[in-house]
């Protein structure tokens, strides 16, 4: 279960020359376990910000975010990082793979960079299983630069799933892909979320992809625009 209460977030770096200060306000939002949520909406409306808040990458000025039993907003920086590494899988629009690591090392990256995760034989088996399930077994030792875009995104999904996260957050993971690959990636996300019984929240601009999701949140319609320009308020 994801629970958001009285969340207010604004970027601190607004200057007089910039657009009016961005502000995201969510009074309440609950997402049940194992839900499949698609978030659609225009650029700049705060979709990515919401994912970052859920993952603990950013911290709101006020309000509470709970992922399961853990109140993310009350964790220390280090605890938020460890929680994110262990329980939240992130998939990015531009894949954000590490160019100097091969496929296997990219997938295992969370175990390389976070001390709270332990690498053992079960992780190695999971790597093999994940790679096999998305057709990457024969590419495990290949440099990621020599992969197609579809293959790279599959690597990114495997990296998000290697820790068996309870929450899978995907930020426009199909943004750079052709229609066929888009469908395959979304299917893959659903399939892997199903296998690991993870909650999937995916941000997308492509409304056609939302049909397969149990919940769809249209940020533009769903979020009320407050009187001040640039402020987004989510109502449920």
């Amino acid at each position: 279960m994801i629970r958001i209460r009285d969340l207010v977030f604004r970027y601190q770096m607004a200057t007089a020359r910039m657009q009016p200060e961005f502000r995201l306000q969510i009074p309440a939002w609950d997402v049940p376990d194992s839900a499949r949520v698609a978030i659609v909406g225009p650029s700049g409306s705060g979709k990515t910000t919401l994912l970052h808040l859920l993952a603990g990458i950013m911290v709101p000025q006020s309000g509470q975010i709970e992922l399961g039993e853990v109140r993310v907003t009350e964790l220390s920086d280090a605890a938020r990082r460890d929680f994110r590494a262990a329980h939240v899988g992130l998939v990015f629009q531009r894949f954000e793979l590490i160019e100097y690591l091969n496929v296997a090392k990219n997938i295992l990256l969370p175990y390389t960079i976070n001390r709270s995760l332990r690498f053992d034989d079960s992780v190695r088996l999971r790597l093999e299983h994940l790679a096999a399930s998305v057709g990457l077994t024969h590419l495990l030792h290949r440099p990621v630069q020599r992969l197609s875009q579809g293959e790279q995104q599959r690597v990114a999904i495997c990296r998000a799933l290697i820790t068996q996260p309870k929450w899978l957050l995907a930020d426009e993971p199909t943004g750079n892909l052709d229609p066929e690959n888009k469908r395959r990636i979304v299917d893959l996300l659903h399939q892997q979320a199903e296998v690991s019984r993870a909650t999937l929240i995916m941000v997308t601009h492509d409304v056609s992809l939302t049909a397969s999701f149990s919940h769809t949140v249209d940020f533009q319609a769903w979020c009320g625009r407050s009187e001040e320009a640039g402020q987004t308020e989510v109502r449920q």
Binding site: H52, A55, I57, D77, A78, R81, D82, R84, A85, A86, L90, F92, E96, I98, E99, Y100, L101, K105, L109, P110, T112, I113, N114, R115, S116, L117, P143, R159
Partner: protein, 392 residues
């Protein structure tokens, strides 16, 4: 450990950049490292040679030039001494004084005319063969043997100093009868002959066909009661053999024959002072205590070293600035990567550690390679560096 994995993977992936950065730093610190390897050895060798040859006598002139000439057989522009000077030392009981005649070369190696006592007083042993016992024989240093690939039974030819004055000296074929054991000294790079052999090369003595009994009209210009006048067709022998050895003879008084230096191979201070006192009575003789002159030389070398280190520091600071620029640009380029690592659960400290470790690794690799390279250079070319420093 986690950071090392990423750092090494990054350095290996961008190996060209890594090699260039390491190379730049190696170049920057190579000269000081080579100097730090070579200079102490040079200093030790110079001081040891000076201790072994405490007093040097020669004509008036530069004291350092005389010391380098007598200890390292370097060419000297000073006028020669008369052999009689050495005989005077002998008559006064200074038996550890040895004459030197160093004016000719065989290829790149100096021909040192001296007496057999030179070897015993310096403690030099023969690796092969025996000491020279006949006119035209020579004993070569170990480096000469190695570089020219010569040994006992081979021959060497002295190089005329000038092709324009063929009457002054002419090439004499030298028979190699012995090879010295290596001594890590200038003796390794010298060709030793008897003093008389150098006088033959200098054309003060020669051997030729017996003219007085010859019936060849081409060889004799005139016969009279006073003697026989030989024609220009009588050529001196350019090689000494057992057959023509008896024909070799010298014209003039040997006491007037030239030598270029006298060395006292005696570490007793009292003998040194007495010998120096005797020499100082003769106005045309210069007395130099080699350790003092070598200390002056070492001061000069130290200044040269400091100058080279200062130039290297200047070049090195430019290298460090370029290194910092490359690292700065790399940090900018890798911002997205570091942001990704942070989003996936890395601490900001890890990203800083990665940069730090990469800089440390490149610097450490550069230092390691520079150190290895400096050892290699010192090992391969220490003799050349030694000669170059002495020639400064």
């Amino acid at each position: 450990m986690r950071a090392w994995v990423l750092v090494f993977a990054h350095m290996a992936f961008h190996w060209r950049r890594t090699v260039i950065l390491v190379g730049c730093l190696v170049i920057g610190c190579l000269v000081p490292l080579v100097l730090s390897q070579v200079m102490p050895a040079v200093q030790r060798q110079l001081e040891r040679r000076a201790r072994e040859t405490p007093v040097v006598f020669g004509s008036q002139g530069g004291s350092l030039e005389l010391v380098l000439h007598a200890l390292y057989f370097r060419p000297s522009q000073a006028s020669p001494l008369k052999f009689g000077r050495w005989q005077a030392f002998q008559q006064a009981g200074f038996e550890r004084c040895v004459p030197l005649h160093v004016r000719f070369q065989a290829g790149d190696f100096p021909i040192v005319g001296t007496h057999l006592e030179y070897f015993s007083l310096r403690g030099r042993e023969l690796q092969h063969g025996e000491a020279f016992g006949r006119l035209g024989d020579c004993v070569i240093g170990s480096e000469v043997a190695r570089e020219l690939e010569l040994g006992v039974g081979d021959t060497l030819i002295s190089s005329p100093r000038s092709f324009l004055n063929i009457a002054a000296d002419y090439p004499l074929q030298l028979r190699i009868v012995g090879v010295l054991q290596p001594s890590s000294s200038a003796d390794d790079e010298a060709v030793f002959v008897d003093l008389k052999t150098t006088w033959v090369i200098e054309n003060l003595g020669h051997g030729h066909t017996e003219v007085a009994t010859s019936n060849d009209p081409n060889l004799v210009l005139e016969r009279s009661r006073e003697g026989t006048v030989a024609s220009a067709a009588v050529l001196p022998y350019t090689v000494v053999t057992d057959e023509n050895l008896a024909s070799f003879h010298f014209h003039g008084d040997m006491a007037d024959f030239p030598i270029t230096a006298i060395v006292l191979l005696d570490d007793r201070k009292r003998t040194q002072d007495l010998c120096a006192g005797l020499a100082l009575k003769q106005n045309d003789l210069q007395v130099v205590f080699a350790p003092d002159a070598i200390r002056e030389l070492l001061d000069v070398l130290l200044q040269v070293q400091n100058l080279l280190v200062a130039v290297s520091a200047f070049v090195g600071s430019a290298t460090v600035l370029l290194f910092a620029l490359v690292i700065g640009l790399s940090i900018q380029i890798r911002q997205q990567e570091m942001e990704t690592l942070f989003k996936l659960g890395a601490s900001r400290g890890l990203t800083m550690t990665m940069y730090g470790l990469e800089i440390f690794s490149i610097a450490a690799l550069a230092y390691l390679f520079a150190q290895l390279l400096s050892w290699l250079i010192a090992w391969l070319w220490s003799a050349e560096l030694y000669r170059w420093l002495l020639g400064l």
